[in-house]
Amino acid sequence: MIVLNGEHSDVRAGETVVAVLARLGLGLDARGVAVAVDGEVVPRASWDSFALAEDARVEVLTAMQGG
């Protein structure tokens, strides 16, 4: 089961980061977005090729008011 932003998702192993972003309504051109998988940064250039493993923990982050 792949966990997306702390919640179980219907994302399946083998799907790419792009597929995950789509579930959040985001495209490859999303501004101000960063992705981490299992505690490692996935650079934007790899979003369409990075395939998720079973039990991957995916964090999709963006700017929020703070500081």
């Binding site: 932003n5 985001l26 101000g32 960063a34 992705v35 963006t62 700017a63 929020m64 500081g67």
Partner: protein, 273 residues
Amino acid sequence: MADALSPSPPAPGDDAAYDDVLTIAGRPLRSRLLLGTGGFPSLEVMAEAIAASDSELVTVALRRVDPTARGSLIDVLADAGVQLLPNTAGCHTARDAVLTARLAREAFATGWVKLEVIGDEDTLLPDAPELLRAAEELLDDGFVVLPYTTDDPVLARRLADLGCAAVMPLGSPIGSGMGIRNPYNIALIREAVDVPVVLDAGIGTASDAALAMELGCDAVMAASAISRAQDPVAMARAMRAAVQAGRLAHGAGRIPRRLYATASTPDEGLAAF
């Protein structure tokens, strides 16, 4: 040091001392007020406050995407023409802070980071060993690191020695509005490091910002003091004026404190009745 609250004025004729451009990591900044974006009632008020503050460097946090969120903070800040300073707020370990900074670099295409590593939930005070660890790792990775630190001059010097582009000592705990609890330490920090000192956290109102600048700080960072004021836009204007006033007063060189009065009107020529 005779009086930590009366720093030596710059030498007369030293124009550089009055040059109002602050440079952090080679980036010139006209405004010596950094703004935090947290706590504003709306993006519209935030945008107005940014304009009123004249700030060029504003902090943002990195959080999970909320598909239901309305409005884009990134777009509003881009329209405002400000440089983003991502923070690592909420991180309690060097590991989390480093990863957050790397994600922020990816998201916002900036290598600048306001490094926060929190050691205590109630006071949000920095965790010194984790802060040093994170700073070292990020500096090795090429980041421009601006660490949120305590008002400890030794820790500030350690951070500056590592290569941090500025140090950001607290006046008092984040969001407390308690002002500068140890002005002597802030003045000592100004003496201890060669990098810009940005007073961060604790500012409650304009006089706190003016005091920070009078103590010799190079800039002031305000967040809640502006965003949670009853009129954030008016407070942004007040902070801008206070930072300028404090800067000018610091350069002008204040009079020494005395226990007894010193007449400002001469006795000479005083009438005898």
